[in-house]
């Protein structure tokens, strides 16, 4: 009855608007409806669709009090040049109110090459810190107590090696593995689909991942063993719905692999974490965060029968969208990042990295990183956005958008199930193609003027080339080469050979958990390239099959 009156009122409103439109037309290309009312969320059931924070289906957030108790972890992704340089930046960030570390490794480290490998030419220390052995890792965390800080590491194909290095550094500090808190990204599927730092073929890669799940559940219980990442899928050009759909499909594949390896879902699912992008459209992003929690909770409860609440919670780290930074008028990026931060906070993220204004041009300077960190602090302490739980819950628009994104995500998940799961959908190029189509459409929309990016295709102005960009000089490669040479001269090379031989044997036997063997090699100061070299030898290398 109420709805009928409302419907009549709504029709009257729309008819009334019609007359006005002739004189004052609306902007073109507006996707949302003009106005949202209860009509758009018909059948809305508070208890079923939202529930209370910290309760199934976690739409409103995974903790009961969210930011009223403690703010999200302000975790700035950093790392460049040598371990010495990066250690300085980490200690600066911690001293200035950063509450966790996030390590960026250079590409040779991410792809399992030593800095001296010919494939590493030109790349050493460029997009992150160069780590070749435990010796570098010791320097990276010098004067940082690993029982006091949580550390996130963006490392995938060689995640096992870097995690073992972290464990070994902790041992030297007298910190036992069960005290370590942090995350390894460890999400190989999105590397095949969107990010590109794969090494091994899918099967041994999935084995390494389940080895890590199993090892950590017993030895490093507070560690987040994977950060299933939509961030890079979004950066590669996907839509919001695709971001969460493809990522949750990847998550389903990991859970299935672990169950197939004999693990009980509730023994590892609580340590799975996610990684979202905070993009430009604030309200769409808030809806995306909310929808993703609801989808994952249902997946875990209904599909996998997970009992523990922790297993059903989608806990998420967020980074603001790097691809939305513009090289033009870089100061505008500060505003973009602030809005993206607002979206992530209203969306209920557990931790956040904010990008710096100059990252479309180079790695950020200390000054620009500081502004990015301050942006989070301003949102936390001044904006009021963090003062109540899920502040947009109940907004007709946001609830309708949450429903829409959830429905689109289910549609994709269903399609991927039909194809045979995420690994198969990636092998067939389906996911890549969907992402590419979205990326191409985005670019064409900008070029046609259907989408406005301030300073890029509207409000352009002549500007001076920006000054004071961070430069990583070319000598890092040489420095690392010297360090490796010195290391090889002083370490016990017989011990290295022995541990590598044991690892090779273990790789060939699928029933062996490789983590203890990798840890032994790391402790003996085998280099990352040596360890990954052994695995490359046994496992082979993945070759991409990208089609356009």
């Amino acid at each position: 009855m109420a709805n009928e009156t409302l419907k009549a009122g709504f029709d009257k409103y729309m008819a009334g608007v019609e007359a006005k439109l002739a004189k004052n037309p609306e902007r073109a290309n507006l996707e949302p409806n003009r106005l949202y009312t209860p009509l758009d969320i018909e059948g809305f059931d508070y208890e079923k669709d939202l529930g209370f924070p910290g309760e199934y289906p976690y739409t409103r957030g995974v903790q009961p009090t969210m930011y009223r108790g403690r703010f999200w972890t302000m975790r700035m992704y950093a790392g460049f040049s040598t371990a010495e340089e990066s250690n300085k930046r980490y200690r600066y960030l911690l001293a200035n109110g950063g509450s966790g570390l996030s390590c960026a490794f250079d590409l040779p480290t991410q792809i399992g090459y030593d800095s001296t490998d010919p494939m590493a030419e030109g790349e050493v220390g460029k997009v992150g810190v160069a780590i070749d052995s435990l010796a570098d890792m010791e320097i990276l965390f010098d004067q940082i107590s690993l029982d006091q800080v949580s550390t996130s590491m963006t490392i995938n194909a060689p995640a096992s090696v870097l995690l073992c290095m972290y464990i070994a550094v902790a041992e030297k500090q007298g910190v036992s593995a069960d005290k370590l808190r942090g995350t390894i990204q460890n999400d190989i599927l999105k590397e095949y689909a969107a990010r590109g730092t794969y090494i091994f073929p899918p099967k041994p890669s999935m084995r390494l991942i389940t080895n890590i799940f199993e090892y950590c559940s017993k030895n490093v219980p507070l560690w987040n063993t994977i950060s299933i990442s939509g961030y890079h899928i979004r950066e590669a050009g996907s839509t919001a719905s695709q971001e969460i759909a493809f990522t949750i499909a990847d998550g389903i594949a990991y859970v299935e692999a672990a169950i197939k390896a004999g693990m009980n879902v509730d023994d590892f699912a609580g340590r799975l974490s996610f990684f979202w992008n905070a993009h430009n459209n604030v309200l769409e992003e808030v809806a995306k965060f909310r929808a993703s929690r609801r989808v994952w909770a249902k997946v875990m409860k209904e599909r996998f029968g997970a009992q523990k609440p922790k297993s059903q919670m989608l806990r998420v780290h967020t980074q603001t969208a790097g691809s939305m930074l513009t090289a033009q008028q870089p100061n505008n990026n500060i505003v973009r990042v602030a809005l993206q931060t607002a979206a992530a906070v209203m969306g209920g993220t557990q931790s956040l990295h904010t990008n710096s204004k100059d990252e479309a041009l180079a790695l950020p300077t200390t000054e620009s990183v500081t502004i990015a960190l301050r942006t989070q602090q301003i949102v936390a302490y001044e904006s009021g956005l963090a003062d109540t739980v899920d502040p947009l819950g109940g907004s007709y628009y946001v609830e309708a958008l949450t429903n829409k994104i959830e429905a689109e995500a289910w549609e994709y998940i269903k399609k991927i199930d039909e194809i045979g799961g995420a690994p198969e959908a990636i092998a067939k190029g389906y996911i890549q193609k969907e992402i590419q189509d979205s990326a191409y459409k985005w670019q064409m929309d900008i070029e046609k003027g259907d989408r406005i990016i301030v300073g890029v295709n509207k409000f352009q102005q002549e500007e001076e080339p920006p000054k004071n960009l961070l430069r990583v000089d070319g000598s890092v490669g040489k420095l690392q080469a010297d360090k490796i040479a010195a290391l090889k001269a002083r370490r016990d090379n017989a011990k290295v050979e022995e541990t590598l031989a044991a690892l090779e044997k273990g790789c060939a036997d699928e029933s062996v958990n490789l983590m203890p063997l990798i840890l032994d090699a790391v402790r003996a100061y085998a280099t990352e390239g040596e360890i990954c070299g052994v695995m490359r030898k046994v496992f082979g290398e993945y070759q991409s099959h990208t089609a356009l």
Binding site: P201, A427, K428, Q543, S544, H545, T546, A547, L548
Partner: protein
Amino acid sequence: MNIVEGVLNHSRLALAKAITAVENEYDNAVEIMTAIYPHTGNAYVIGITGPPGAGKSTLTDKLAKEYRKRGKTVGIIAIDPTSPFSGGAILGDRIRMLDLTADEGIFVRSMATRGSLGGLSQKAGDAVKLMDAYGFDVIIVETVGVGQSEVDIVKTADTTMVVVIPGMGDDIQAIKAGILEIGDLFTINKADREGTDKLNIEIEMMLELNPEHFGWRPPINRTIASKGEGIEAVVDSIEEHKAYLIESDQLSKIRKARIKNEVTAMLNDRVNRYIDKNVVATSEFDILVEKLQIREIEPYSVVADIVGKVLR
């Protein structure tokens, strides 16, 4: 640099430029091909075709590597369709074949179909001859089995292989008529997928019905090209087919037919172009068409008349 000398002296750059010359119909193309012709006829030509997504490129890549292991040099021509909308093309096969670039014994060339009137068969045939003259032992021509001109290209190979994958559903019916009958051998790729046995039976049944393969029963191999599985057996089958062709004296017959086809196509092409230029593109022809439209004249006499004049 003299391109012909370059090709004959194993200059990769000269080979690349020579293929461009025939592909773009540069002025020197005929001259190059004329000089090259006596040096051809030595390579063994393998055609590979199959529906999109069958993994032909990956398979080609693996076959080439297997041939390299057996001491043979390999030239590859990978043909991809031109977009009918823009005239552009994405020649994506490079992605799979890149690790072959480090090997001097391998040369990979992409070609776009550039529409059906571009004389693709002839251009691909010329590219094969250039690689042949350069001295490659084996030349693989790989193309999607969708258009007639693509099928024509692989049909003229010494050995033609059709690649299929399980789970194509009704697609197999659609392509059956087109490409299944041209296969000297069949490869079921992605053979770890469901439906492999069923597909195997279907192909066997089709071969039973096909009387053209007297004396040679096309073998059906199974591969998982992405993992390199089953590749050696495919090369063995190709070599067996080659041995059969030689023993049964079929090879020279095939090649004779190929030459006949080629020359016929060249003639047709030349005549077509002549007619396009000297007949169709003239104002007299427009007038004829107008008269035809109002039924003042009829086409049969018009054609007889023109043929009489042109082919005097």
